[in-house]
């Protein structure tokens, strides 16, 4: 029912947005048409920023309550619908805590950048919530997650080994996002948001294609962006490892009925484990030692790869891009003058300045990319080490970091169903007595 409501709302929203403004530059010649005076829309009221933050706080609290106390999948879905409408279609996906990573990083590295207070709040509130309640933000507040969750029709199971490998992509994306934001080059998370095209009904053809493909993938793979790319997801994963409260599959003691094994489309239910075989102790220890010794090598290798990639990575920086354009225009026959080069010409800035700035930026990228590469080496080495350590589990548990608190597993648990039935019967009895 709730999904039908979501999709109906989406359809209405699309129809409303069908009348949105069409973009096209005005004519450069006198066609007899008088172009209306450009008017600037009024600045967004400050109180609306307060409202956004208040809604975020309320939604996070509600998500935590629904997943930890109420244990209601329907409630979570209803919250998803609200978040999708409010943070997605109404706020058009901006500002969102995922994109705020760029703003916060930039503010940390460039003190001249005055980061708005509500952007900071949007970044830290989901993390604060994760410290106490796990991934409440992912559960029902994130509009990107909500959209993917609702369209999940026929989930296919991704093997654990594949999931572990693909997750490295999210680490890489986070590293690059921090690198570009720290150097003031780009907020790549916002630029390459794979679903914002649906919220705004406008995007470049490439991003439209990416959006459609992501949504098509989400029909069969549970929340692909959240699991394999989301940079905030990576942060929340680590924070939720230490969270005070966690989602539980069963409200009571696990009876090992195994009905929940298949319930999670995100592969976040961990089975109970046996004793680690004695025959595996010695080779396991040697393997662990090997990976620990390999860690510096992986860090150094990552740093070297980062350093080698820095000229290509730097190409995305506007200063480097402009210098490249200027140089190309200066030296290559038939090269069309780009808008950037035209603007540069009009600015009166010397070419030496442009080249010098680009050189400085490339140098900064050499350092930054090496650090990012080294960090990726550490992440990869850490993953190998973590997967060489035996973790003991006595019952079916949601993965502390991987669980998105979507509540799908609740209904698979006989204890949960039983409790709900008892509750329903009590309510009915109370109703009969009351009447």
């Amino acid at each position: 029912m709730s999904r039908g409501l979501v999709l109906s709302c989406m359809a209405v929203w699309v129809a409303v947005n069908g009348f949105a403004v069409q973009r096209f530059p005005p004519p450069e010649f006198d066609s007899g048409y008088s172009i209306p005076t450009v008017t600037e829309p009024a600045a967004r009221g400050e109180w609306l920023a307060f409202l956004d933050v208040a809604v975020l706080v309320a939604a996070l609290g509600l998500a935590a309550w629904l997943s930890l106390k109420k244990r209601s999948r329907k409630g979570i879905v209803a919250l998803m619908v609200f978040s999708l409408l409010y943070f997605g279609f109404w706020r058009r996906g901006c500002i969102c805590p995922i994109g705020a990573i760029g703003n916060v990083t930039y503010a940390l590295f460039d003190h001249a950048y005055a980061i708005p207070w509500f952007v900071t709040a949007f970044f830290f509130l989901p993390i604060a919530a994760a410290i106490f309640f796990g991934r409440s933000f992912c559960a029902g507040v994130c509009p990107l997650g909500a959209l993917q969750d609702i369209v999940l029709l026929k989930p296919i199971r991704i093997p654990v080994w594949l999931e572990s490998s693909l997750r490295l992509a999210a680490w890489l994306y986070l590293s690059l996002a921090v690198l570009y934001a720290a150097l003031g080059s780009a907020f790549i998370i916002c630029r390459y948001d794979p679903l914002v095209a649906f919220f705004r009904f406008t995007a470049s053809p490439t991003m439209w294609t990416v959006s459609i493909l992501t949504l098509a993938l989400a029909l069969f793979v549970g929340r692909p962006y959240c699991r394999f790319l989301c940079p905030l997801g990576i942060i929340l994963r680590q924070v939720s490892r230490i969270s005070r409260q966690q989602v539980t599959i069963t409200p009571d003691e696990c009876i090992h009925c195994r009905l929940c094994e298949d319930a999670c489309p995100f592969g976040a239910i961990q089975k109970p484990t046996e004793e680690w075989p004695t025959s595996e102790h010695a080779p396991g220890s040697r393997r662990l030692l090997l990976y620990i010794l390999l860690l510096p090598v992986l860090i150094a290798g990552g740093a070297a790869l980062g350093y080698l990639a820095h000229p290509k990575l730097a190409a995305l920086d506007p200063a480097v891009e402009l210098a490249g354009e200027v140089r190309q225009f200066q030296n290559e026959q038939g090269h069309r003058m780009s808008d950037e080069v035209q603007a540069f010409q009009a600015s009166g800035i010397s070419m030496e300045h442009v080249y010098r700035e680009a050189d400085d930026k490339v140098h900064q990228f050499a350092i930054g990319a090496s650090l990012a590469g080294g960090w990726m080496g550490l992440v990869a080495g850490g993953s190998l080490i973590l997967n060489s350590v035996f973790w003991r589990r006595h019952s079916y548990e949601p993965h502390r970091s991987g669980c998105l608190a979507c509540g799908r597993c609740f209904n698979a648990c006989p204890h949960h169903r039983m409790q709900n039935r008892i509750k329903a019967e009590k309510i009915m009895e109370a109703g009969i007595r009351g009447s």
Partner: protein
């Protein structure tokens, strides 16, 4: 609600209807998604905002702001592209609406059918110990493979994929050390730079004299002897090559195209081709172009920073030495009996055009364009009809002036302002030869009639001119004269080489070379170089008596005056550019 519950609640017919609706909605969504995909791909490939045709027309419009037809075409094309763009956006929005609607229908029907939810099913029992060990091993293996693939991919991307950014190390330092500016290189060539180049028709000051001594005297294209290289010129033209350091520029044109070509002087490799748009296609079709003149008879000019060319249709364009178009203008289709053929010359930061047109005086002008911007610095009306002679910048009585010859005047202009310095009635008819300066005298030719020596005197720009002497005879109608101080030589189209004394105009000798000539004679290392229309170069002593040193051939028709550089001669033949010199 599962499948059984749904059947129980809605009956088998209701269940089947739900499944059918879900299938229809799903198929419709897939079709819409596919159509949107195709649409987006097409949009990506042909973004109307980047329409090349419109951009090209806009560039042309900048060069020819008065062209109303072009403006109208731009308006029509722009409006069409706007309509296309709006239709595309509308299609995109409607498509998205339909896609979401169809997807909603599909999901709703699935919920109705109970197929969306299902009862949990326990997985098969497995040996947990073995599964644990296997899973951990697979994860480690997968991580290791991922690392190897990621590292290899990163390495390949870093080292072997082409860089989008064209910045190079040290660009800033090069720029700081005085590299070329992007927008404006306002510098111009100094006189001591020019004398060692061949920057315009007949070289420095249009004298046809090379300062170099090691000019070849023996070559043969049949055996390849002393032919350093030979390169094909994409379009024909009668214009001469000009040379600056290691670059050679020539022009070529036909009824549809006008181009400037840049060749590497050492290898003959075509470095770039600059297109000059035809401004008036309709007028060009009606243009009176003689075969002897062609569409590219005017020789371009270069100052080592830029190269500028003018064509028979009145289109003039300037490029950087790297081939970037700086500006282009149209002077209109010239009213010229045999087709416009005057070459360009330059003085400091100005390119000078002798725009002699019309069968009667009244339309002709001498125009100076700014090298860098194409703006008109000055223009001076000329009291002459159409002519085919080229202007030359020379020093007369210690003063730099632009010398021109056209019936009936030889006129000198101040090169910075275009002010007329003197005008002397001296030559009549269809003037094609260029005046020269030798021994402080100006020499001009009246075709078939006479050679005139003009004495100019004065100071501070106030010159007066008088005819010192005139020599009557069968004077050339095309080739310009050449002089080395004591003697002046003339060469007519029929091959009659005549020599006169500069001092008094008395004839020193006359010799028949038995060849046809259209290229003007040149002088290098004390030798006359006379290029015939058959491609045979007659080399003779530059002396008061005719003494032939030799004849060398490239076996290809030649109409353009050759250019000279240190140890080399560049000959533009009908279809090829030859470099004569030691290999």
């Amino acid at each position: 609600m599962d499948r059984e519950t749904a059947i129980g609640r809605y009956g088998i017919a209701g269940y089947q209807a739900a499944i059918g609706t879900a299938i229809v909605g799903g198929v419709f969504a897939v079709v819409i998604a596919a159509l949107l995909g195709v649409h987006l791909y097409r949009y990506h490939v042909t973004d109307p905002r980047d329409a090349a045709a419109l951009e090209k027309m806009k560039e042309q419009a900048k060069a020819y702001p008065a062209d109303q037809t072009l403006s109208q075409e731009i308006v029509v094309l722009d409006a069409r592209l706007r309509r296309d763009q709006l239709a595309r956006l509308q299609f995109l929005k409607r498509g998205t609406f339909l896609l979401v609607g169809a997807a909603a229908l599909c999901v709703g029907a699935l919920i109705w059918s109970g197929g969306y939810n299902r009862l949990p099913l326990p997985c098969q029992r497995v040996d947990r110990k073995a599964e644990q060990i296997t899973t951990a091993r697979r994860i480690r293996t997968a991580l290791t493979f991922s690392l190897v693939i990621a590292a290899s991919g990163s390495l390949f991307w870093s080292l072997y994929t082409p860089a989008k950014m064209k910045l190079q190390n040290g660009d800033a330092d090069k720029q700081a050390a005085g590299g070329p500016a992007l927008e404006e290189d306002r510098s111009f060539a100094a006189m001591d730079e020019i004398v060692n180049q061949w920057p315009c028709f007949r070289g420095p000051q249009g004298l046809g004299i090379s300062p170099f001594k090691d000019i070849p005297i023996d070559w043969d294209s049949a055996g390849g002897k002393n032919i350093k290289w030979k390169s094909s010129i994409p379009l024909e033209g009668h214009s001469s090559p000009v040379v600056w350091q290691n670059r050679i520029y020539v022009t070529g044109a036909n009824a549809d195209q006008q181009q400037v070509f840049c060749f590497d002087a050492d290898t003959g490799k075509l470095l770039w081709t600059g297109d000059v748009a035809v401004a008036d296609k309709t007028g060009r079709a009606d243009m009176n172009i003689s075969e002897d003149t062609g569409y590219a008879a005017s020789t371009p000019v270069t100052d080592g920073r830029r190269v500028c060319a003018i064509f028979a249709g009145g289109d003039i364009a300037c490029f950087t030495v790297n081939g970037r178009l700086l500006w282009q203008k149209s002077l209109g289709i010239p009213d010229s009996m045999y087709g416009y053929a005057s070459s360009l010359t330059f003085y400091e930061d100005a390119v000078i055009v002798q725009w002699d047109v019309g069968s009667e005086p009244g339309q002709s002008r001498l125009i100076a364009f700014d090298w860098q911007t194409g703006q008109i610095k000055w223009q001076t009306p000329r009291p002459v009809p159409n002519s085919w002679s080229s202007p030359t910048v020379a020093r007369v009585a210690g003063i730099d002036c632009v010398l021109t010859a056209a019936s009936p005047f030889v006129i000198a202009y101040e090169p910075k302002t275009g002010r007329e310095m003197f005008k002397i009635e001296s030559v009549e008819g269809d003037i094609a030869s260029t005046p020269i300066v030798a021994d402080n005298r100006i020499f001009a030719l009246e075709p078939y009639q006479k050679l005139v020596a003009i004495e100019a005197t004065g100071a501070s720009g106030n010159l007066t001119a008088a005819i010192a002497w005139q020599a009557d005879g069968a004077m050339p109608d095309i080739c310009s004269p050449i002089a080395d101080g004591p003697y002046i030589w003339t060469l007519d189209s029929g091959g009659e080489l005549s020599c006169y004394k500069v001092a008094d105009g008395s004839k020193a000798f006359s010799a028949s070379l038995k060849l046809q000539f259209e290229a003007s004679p040149s002088l290098a290392a004390g030798r006359l170089y006379l290029l015939s229309t058959t491609g045979t170069m007659v080399i003779a002593d530059a002396a008061g008596a005719y003494k032939e040193i030799g004849r060398c051939s490239i076996n290809e028709p030649c109409f353009a005056t050759p250019a000279f550089a240190e140890g080399r001669i560049y000959i533009r033949a009908k279809t090829n550019l030859f470099c004569i010199g030691a290999k």
